[in-house]
């Protein structure tokens, strides 16, 4: 079929107008179209299809479609006879087939293929999830088993260390082995924490607690690390919060300790600052913001991006697996908090942990009529003032001194209404002046129940040399301590000796653990069996004896008789037994034991007995 010139001209013009083409281009296209109609050259159709493919523009495709339809309609109308119309129809059908129908079919095929692709991806996802779960379980189990074995290794190393038989190099090797085990234990614990977090096994345990007390524990946790870096100082700016909060204390501590440990790890000199600010958002809620800043090595922007990813560790010579920050971040999310960081490389970092908590529905602090005496030579910050106001609001009688001489004079001359708490806020060097005074005051009966507190906010917290005298960096609830608990402070000054006789080392170990923790000044001698016990009793004077009843060889009753026969006054002897039957109790009473201590050990009962002995010894 041949196109007439006017038809060609019209087509050229239409193409020019529709597609904003120049004449030459439009002419070329029409020429190709002509070739199709006249010579059955299908190049035009494929070129058109390619153009649509290349442009990938639905508006353009629509324009093409319109052009095709218009051209078809025009030529169809212009056709001189049926034959021409038939030819036109057949070419346009072919055009539609190639340009549109083929495309539709291809799309359908693609749809089928994408179904298969989806199946493959679903299967892969399912297997990936299964594998991840299995891996996590495996890691948890392995870590658990590792931790058990590590505990055992650590335990046996500790036993060898306790025996103190190694010398020189061997002792060093033992120390290194112990340290390495400890490090490995921490790493395994971290891995376990991560797997617990990832598998959603983390339990949130909420309770009421004091924020300042929690922060003291956090600081205590890094005290040893700080000691090893003398050029690094800790600053604190902890807002006074006059109420307890309700939340997961342990996990919040974990977050803060992780950040603090990191800060110490990556800061060799300068300072680390820990601050806490609160804002009461409603009657029952408070928004808390912890900020930990350091003058450490800082992070680059790339490092910042991955700081909370697992296993991100920037300097390989610094210890650790790189899980601490990841754990902290995940924990923060779990607690519905937010942990963020800003950093400047070479200058330091600032970590901010924000969390909303409920205000505890608590009874007020029971410090009515308590006498509190405070010496504060210079630290009159807002926190201090708020504290004093709070103590006074709670009914305490607070006497504040800013003059040392007046303070000392007051303590030396007081006869009645002796303060239950004497708090000194000074520099580290400042405390040394009061050593002799405090030692002296503690020997006076009227100060028997007084607790001496060294509140020192801006220096190294581990004040080893104050440990014997002071509580330090006191949390607010110290003032609410039960009076009977105060006795322990006084009692710990008295050296009493206790002999424990048991054939089972574990029992002796447990006794030793509990007694030495509570009463580090008590001398506790351990005898592994009746004969050994008698031997030790012969050569030393004891204030108390604890005697296991069921022992091979000489049992407890026989040992008791032997001790009586030795002639010297028998101190209180307590039977130590797991068989608390009436017949046994009667027999114990009959023999003349001072009393019975149950196994398993109930620490509070044991402490009461010891305190009674101490009190009697002292008086």
């Amino acid at each position: 079929m041949k196109l007439k010139k006017y038809q060609i001209d019209k087509l050229i013009k239409d193409i020019q107008n529709s597609f904003k083409m120049d004449y030459a281009q439009a002419e070329e296209i029409v020429e190709s179209f002509k070739n199709l109609l006249e010579n059955n050259n299908t190049k035009f159709i494929y070129d058109l299809n390619y153009t649509i493919f290349h442009r990938r523009n639905h508006k353009f495709t629509k324009q093409i479609l319109n052009m095709i339809v218009d051209t078809y309609a025009y030529l169809f109308e212009e056709a001189s006879d049926d034959m021409e119309r038939k030819i036109i129809r057949s070419y346009f059908e072919k055009l539609f087939d190639v340009v549109f129908i083929d495309r539709c079919q291809y799309s359908k095929q693609l749809e089928e293929k994408s179904k298969t692709t989806q199946k493959i991806l679903q299967h892969t996802t399912k297997r990936l999830n299964e594998t991840l779960e299995t891996q996590e379980l495996m890691i948890a189990n392995i870590s658990h088993e590792m931790r058990t074995s590590l505990n055992a290794i650590n335990g046996y190393l500790a036993i060898i260390s306790d025996k103190d038989v190694l010398q020189g190099e061997d002792k060093q090797y033992l120390s290194k082995a112990t340290h390495a085990t400890r490090t490995l234990k921490e790493l395994v614990s971290d891995i376990l924490s991560v797997t617990k977090l990832n598998s959603g096994q983390l339990e949130i345990q909420q309770s009421n607690f004091w924020l300042d007390k929690m922060l003291i524990k956090c600081i205590d946790n890094i005290a040893l690390m700080l000691q090893k870096k003398p050029k690094l100082h800790l600053r604190t700016d902890i807002e006074f919060v006059p109420f307890r909060v309700y939340g997961d204390q342990n996990h919040i501590m974990e977050i803060i300790i992780n950040i603090l440990s990191n800060a110490v790890k990556y800061t060799d000199s300068g300072y680390i600052s820990l601050s806490m600010k609160t804002k009461q958002t409603s009657d029952n809620n408070v928004a808390i913001s912890f900020v930990i800043a350091d003058t450490g090595i800082g992070m680059t922007s790339q490092q910042l991006e991955t700081i909370f990813s697992p296993y991100s560790r920037f300097k390989t010579e610094r210890q650790g697996l790189g899980l601490g920050m990841h754990i902290a971040h995940q924990l923060a999310k779990k607690l519905n908090g937010n942990l963020t960081v800003e950093s400047v490389f070479g200058k330091g970092s600032i970590f901010k942990f924000d969390i909303d908590m409920k205000i505890a529905d608590d009874k007020k602090l029971d410090i009515k009529s308590r006498n509190i005496c405070i010496l504060n030579k210079k630290n009159y910050n807002d926190t201090y003032k708020q504290r004093i106001s709070f103590l006074e609001e709670q009914g305490a009688n607070v006497k504040v001194f800013d003059n040392e001489n007046e303070f000392i004079n007051y303590l030396l001359t007081i006869q009645d209404n002796v303060p239950e708490y004497v708090s000194i806020i000074a520099t580290i060097e400042g405390y040394t002046k009061f050593d002799a005074l405090i030692y002296y005051l503690k020997t006076l009966p009227i100060f028997a129940k007084t607790i001496f507190i060294a509140e020192n906010y801006h220096q190294h917290i581990s004040l080893n040399y104050f440990d014997e005298i002071y509580e330090y960096f006191a949390p607010i609830d110290l003032y609410a301590r039960n009076k009977t608990q105060d006795l322990q402070k006084f009692e710990s000054r008295v050296d009493i000796s206790i002999l424990a006789i048991d054939d089972t080392e574990t029992n002796l170990d447990i006794l030793s653990l509990f007694i030495s923790k509570k009463y580090p000044n008590i001398t506790l001698d351990l005898a592994n069996g009746g004969y050994e016990g008698i031997g030790m009793f012969k050569i030393k004077k004891y204030d108390m004896v604890m005697l296991d009843l069921k022992m091979p060889g000489l049992d407890g009753f026989e040992v008791f008789n032997k001790l009586k026969e030795l002639g010297s006054p028998l101190p209180p002897v307590y039977a130590f037994s797991a068989d608390i039957y009436k017949s046994n109790i009667d027999k114990v009473e009959e023999y003349g034991f001072a009393g019975m201590i149950e196994k398993p050990l109930q620490p509070q009962k044991l402490y009461k007995i010891i305190e009674r002995i101490m009190h009697e010894s002292n008086n």
Partner: protein
């Protein structure tokens, strides 16, 4: 270098004396090709004629793929320096002998079929003879009752390799192979196999493993070549650099899968999914860097590409033509030879579009 691409109906359009004629013929039209050879022989008695069968041909004119079966026999006529090339024919168990002439070569391989022999020779050419630029295809068939064949100066061969070696002092080849898939999912280990049949994957019946992932398989579904395996042997570090391996068929009696190349126990496979259309184009555009003037190209498209891409195949070829703007000739093969990266090691593939560009040294721009 003078060249012309023609069909069998255009012999009178040649205006130079060719030295080498490369032709591809649809297997069912092998007789036609042989008939035309006689004509060529009469016209150009000194010309070497080489070629192979194809499933269908790829020609230099739109739409490039032979939709109407108009180009059942196609030819590339080349005028080459006689010293610039060699033709070697190898049957099974032969290695090429180049008689250490100190020359460097590039090579086109045409193979009648896939075999250990082909694999060995490719490795031999690569490693022993240092022939880095190696391209080619495995002859195809459209009728399964036919054998794929190699043609050399009037004779037809099966189980044969034909090598066209091009002396680098005169000519060179450049090229690339691309595919449109990426590996996905977990790797599966071939735990029982023989030749090109996989009986077990991860100690489970292979067909069951596959159908567990992609659903029930039919022969129709297999003919779409929609899910080739990535086949990782010890030679490859990752699946991404491993060749594709198309599924040929399944056997429900033995729960086995046959593929288009040999596999062995402990080879690893991964399923594949098609890349996005954006990525398809991106990969296609890698060819554009090969553009040179005064050159011709050979296109070896896997039959799987034709089946998988459908109408997109000719659009991609048109795109290639527009961007490279060099004439090409090619066919739908049952395997291709080429590197994944320009200058990389040539391996045997399935389901690739492979291109080899021939140019004369000093003439290319």
């Amino acid at each position: 270098m003078e060249y012309r691409i023609i069909t069998c109906y255009q012999f009178n359009k040649i205006d130079f004396e060719p030295d080498l004629i490369i032709g591809f013929y649809q297997d069912i039209n092998q007789c036609e090709f042989q008939k035309h050879y006689k004509k060529i022989q009469d016209m150009y008695p000194n010309a070497n004629v080489i070629g192979c069968s194809s499933e269908s041909n790829i020609y230099d004119e739109v739409p490039h793929v032979d939709v109407d079966e108009k180009h059942i026999c196609i030819y590339l006529f080349l005028k080459l320096n006689k010293n610039g090339y060699k033709i070697k024919l190898l049957d099974s168990n032969q290695h090429i002998d180049l008689q250490d002439d100190g020359k460097k070569y590039d090579a086109i391989i045409l193979s009648s079929n896939y075999s250990d022999f082909l694999e060995d020779n490719i490795e031999y050419l690569n490693k022993q003879l240092g022939i880095k630029h190696l391209y080619g295809g495995i002859a195809g068939i459209s009728n399964i009752s036919n054998d794929a064949t190699i043609f050399y100066n009037g004779d037809v061969y099966t189980n044969t390799l034909l090598l066209l070696l091009l002396d680098n002092d005169y000519y060179k080849l450049d090229g690339l192979s691309i595919h449109q898939f990426e590996p996905v999912g977990f790797e599966l280990t071939i735990t029982k196999s023989k030749d090109n049949i996989i009986y077990e994957l991860d100690n489970q019946p292979a067909l069951k493993v596959l159908e567990n992932i992609i659903g029930h398989l039919t022969h129709k579904k297999i003919r779409t070549f929609s899910f080739p395996f990535f086949l990782k042997t010890d030679d490859y570090k990752s699946f991404e650099e491993s060749p594709l391996c198309s599924i040929k068929g399944i056997n429900r009696d033995t729960n086995s899968i046959s593929v288009y190349r040999y596999v062995k126990n402990n080879d690893k496979v991964k399923l594949s999914i098609p890349v996005s259309s954006y990525e398809q184009l991106k990969r296609l555009r890698k060819f554009h860097k090969l553009r040179k003037s005064n050159s011709v190209a050979f296109v070896f498209n896997c039959l799987g590409v034709k089946a998988y891409l459908g109408m997109m195949e000719y659009l991609y070829l048109m795109d290639l033509k527009r961007h490279l703007n060099i004439p090409f000739i090619g066919f739908h093969s049952f395997g291709e030879i080429g590197p994944f990266e320009n200058g990389g090691v040539s391996i045997i593939h399935n389901q690739t579009i492979s291109l080899a560009i021939l140019s004369a040294v000093g003439e290319e721009a």
